[in-house]
Symmetry: D2
Subunit: 346 residues, 4 copies
């Protein structure tokens, strides 16, 4: 039984962590924090938890939290995370950080897309927490940088092709679509029901979204060379889900059947990646609430391009579920413990 704190529990990734951890047989959540709602019960903020998890939200005092928890999930905005993570590490706690603060290896790159990094010396110690690519390192990590939602869907989608040198690294275009929970729970006109419902739009067009350096870092490592990608995020009127449609130009000819086989081999034994048979296409509705990443691969005979489509639940495999998967690895639990729930459909 591991004692766990959820720091930043009043956001959507926070409540999703609690939903998952509540059913995890080896976890006791001992502490939840929220600056805005300190003093309230978490079940007042999220009535879904009523009668199951009625902890009182506390202010974020790292030392007091570390006294009661061995492992800390930091579900904070970027910058807020790097203000407290060093203390947790000094106090010998394991940290799974869901923010962007420790995902980039290069502090200068972080500075370019976000702001100056406050503790760049920690970056080399952080492990980018995508278990399918870095399972062993995560198991030994004290600081896991939990991947972003868009990056998870794109990296898992394109990893086999890059690793096997089957596509031109300069040709990758990722057209991604996200549910609204990805925008968080803060009160903004743009995220009001009536602004979002029954509409579809792009945002951050033209290579300006902050997930780009993270995607490129990981894809470059897979490709063995520095690459840049085109990435366009879109907003879908739905609560959860990321869907990425990825286009690339093959370096050698291959059929859909061959590529599906390649993916099946690459992801063989993975508990949370499902490679779809030829002709099937994923849907975010089929992974809603689950930790799966569903992937479909097709070769367009007419243009020669490869098209990969991937679907995840942004709050599960794209955030809190993956964080628990990383926790399982760092704690030596079975990797799928507490994450076996099937998607809610409809």
């Amino acid at each position: 039984m591991v004692k766990v704190a959820v720091v930043g529990a009043s956001g959507y990734t926070g409540v999703e962590l609690l939903r998952i951890l509540y059913c995890h047989p080896e976890v006791a959540v001992t502490c939840v924090t929220s600056e805005q709602s300190a003093g309230k019960r978490i079940s007042e903020v999220f009535p879904t938890l009523r009668g199951r998890c009625d902890l009182v939200l506390e202010n974020l005092e790292p030392v007091r939290i570390a006294e009661r928890a061995e492992l800390i999930f930091t579900a904070l905005p970027h910058k807020a995370a790097m203000e407290v993570v060093p203390t947790f590490l000094e106090l010998k706690r394991t940290v799974i950080d869901l923010s962007a603060d420790y995902r980039l290896h290069d502090a200068a790159e972080y500075g370019k897309w976000y702001e100056p990094h406050m503790n760049p010396e920690l970056l080399p110690k952080a492990v980018y927490g995508l278990p399918e690519l870095r399972r062993d390192k995560i198991a030994k990590a004290r600081l896991v940088a939990n991947p972003g939602c868009y990056p998870t869907s794109i990296i898992l989608g394109v990893a086999p092709l890059l690793k096997k040198r089957l596509i031109d690294p300069a040709s990758i275009i990722a057209d991604s679509k996200s549910g609204v929970s990805g925008a968080g729970r803060s009160a903004k006109v743009d995220n009001l029901y009536c602004e979002v419902n029954d509409g579809f739009k792009a945002y951050g067009v033209g290579g300006v979204h902050r997930h780009i350096p993270e995607i490129e870092q990981e894809l470059s490592e897979l490709a063995g060379e520095r690459l840049v990608i085109s990435f366009t995020p879109h907003l879908v009127p739905m609560d959860r889900g990321i869907f990425s449609t990825i286009y690339a130009t093959p370096l050698k000819k291959a059929t859909t059947e061959q590529l599906v086989k390649l993916y099946e081999t690459f992801y063989h034994g993975e508990p949370f990646v499902r490679v779809l048979p030829v002709g099937q296409v994923p849907s975010t509705a089929h992974v809603r609430g689950s930790n799966f990443c569903d992937i479909g691969i097709t070769v367009d005979q007419r243009t020669g391009r490869v098209i990969v489509v991937s679907a995840i639940d942004n709050l599960v495999k794209g955030a809190s579920g993956q964080a628990v998967q990383n926790m399982n690895l760092t704690c030596g639990f079975p990797e799928n413990m507490g994450l076996e729930g099937l998607a809610l459909f409809p």
Copy 2:
């Protein structure tokens, strides 16, 4: 470990049963049937199950099914259920029937609202499966008539008031609202996305919905006298959820505080009923995917009426979750086994 069959697995209550049973530690699903999709894998029909439950759908041959299952969930339309349930019972199998076929004690009443009953002799043996009111009988039952979704939300909402003789039995008005999954998965223009989305309507206005005799049977038993109710169902553009707003005239004066206390006492220890504190109001969003029934009670000072509001997930507490709760009772498992999952929010 109990071997279980799901008959009629290609509908929404069928897939919901499988979602829940897949995580139940004492159940092995050995058999799934579907007339329309026999021969296909269930995971082709519901890709959410892919890699977890890949059973092949079979035709509905009761004897062959009974050979492989000790307990059968019949998730069939009314009439189709009563064509096969007798065979299962003859073969000494336990049946949890999710249709309307065994809910009414009175075959004549069934005939009035549905059609002539094919095996009225079974009606006295069937137990109406609302655990909160009839736990002991269910535990001994061989045929459990799993309640309808609207009835569950209304009966649980009003039971304490009727049982304690606090309201005029003739005064009950239940204005209920349902998500679209309640209409099932058959291809009808009325249930197309574009017909339902961004709209709200009533249907079956004027006391003609088939859930009425079931509600009145149970409420009359609680009241100790025959009563009739006004019941109006509505369709909400959402996947899941039943919300009932129930109005009644008190027989003696009581405050909101007193009634909330009464409900807390009445439902004390119930694993799946949450009585909300004074001033709080349930939402279907807070029970989505869970087996909870959330209830709020208010006295309108100006008119004197009592207003009870209740929220359930129609596919869980209103169907498949309650069916598993009933299975737990008939099998002697802890009542909440496999049903502890928290609601998915957002």
Copy 3:
């Protein structure tokens, strides 16, 4: 051609006014105001208007506005309206006020539900702007108090029954359901997409919603006696629409057919009220974007109660469309001018 100002143009009723007025052949919008967005073009705030209405939003300076407009729509929150309306009236401008500030005849009642009234002397001069009941007075009014959305749906729904003394005035229960645009456009967590989507809830349960005094004032006048009602508002995950389900106890027996006929007679010639044939039920989807109020009537044979269901678009007949209808009356235009657009379906 009448010159018109829209004060408070950056909310949903504001943009809806502009949408309707833009197609009105006798109106020129000369002035739009918004405290928050003053200096921006209205088409930056609402890109739907781009290329059609590109006026610059101004601060609310009544004298400067009155110089350029003969008629002013005040689409402001309550209290903000009564701070400026007197000035417009002093300057001999006609005002159609969409707030609650001039709807109640009784300043004390206003004080009880809102706050002390700042200009109670204007209340006797204001005309409650429901054309179906008060067409002639509106035509002569200088200050029209445009009705609330819930009141419009309930008053039109029940007026014939009360007027003809067919129901017990003490028996009225109105269970109403609203789309989210009724909550306005301010940034609140409660109205975020993920908080509202795929859920249904009641709010203001127990006779506490501020539309109650307005409804009771009008229904009492129709009934010829003081009455109180039970009113419960609910939130539906959709942009637009109010649906009211109204229950009442008849004073004398009548069939559905008789009551439908009564309604047809009562509303004969009304351009925007459609009484549905026996057996048909309105849907908010069928009035979306239009100025119609659709009404269905049914007698429940079993309980004897009358059930009236009515559907409007809260932003059109429930706000801006009705405001234009009132403008037409005060200006002597045909009442349906600019309001003939059919509902958008799907």
Copy 4:
């Protein structure tokens, strides 16, 4: 005043035609047909029309229809259209065909994607009805092939770049997203509310969608050379809207500012194309119910690619609105007559 028939009036493009035509000052709809609902009033099928358009739906008997209408909109599935269009033409009627049957110039190409063409001799006489590119020809046409929804959004989006030889014709990737009304109104499980809501998916991946030959025909003509494109359609949980995100590789370097200027010049004076200022991105919510096509252009500095995003309402500019625009041209009415309505927001 032109007498008009709507053939195939019981689908979504049919009712949208009626909504628009009802407000058109120079049109009288004299005849509506539907094989499924013949004998019913159109307002029974679409209650939005109640009290405004109560014509009785007839069977499709071309000669009888031609007697009463000068211009016929055929809103039929492909194949059904080419069974009746020749008769209308023989009878000297003007036809605006909303199906795919007369969009392709090459009967062999039609045969490859659909089935053998029944009257290939008519193809050279049909004019592809995209007014922005072919206004003069449409004005003289007797048979207008109204463009598909995806093609409209893509062709308008990329026309200026191809026409000006600014992009590599082989580099075009169109990632398009559609609302559900594009799938029509037939009863299919795939289009049920619960199958679509709160999910996002691709379909027809890999260059197999039937709109491809139409898009390539028009883009090839613009480019002056034969080109092929990658096109992936997706399904968005919303009623209306097409959003296309189009990627291309420039042949010469250009800034976002230069390209926005180019588009403004190209579409100068167009009544229904709005080129957005630098940095703004369209949304389908901002064109909902209107005949606009909103276009945004961005150069991705990092990859050098041009990204064009376009948004239309698939039922208006993508179908019925464009059909009325074409009717206006063939009848010599002002092109924007009856099409000036602003988008419904929210």
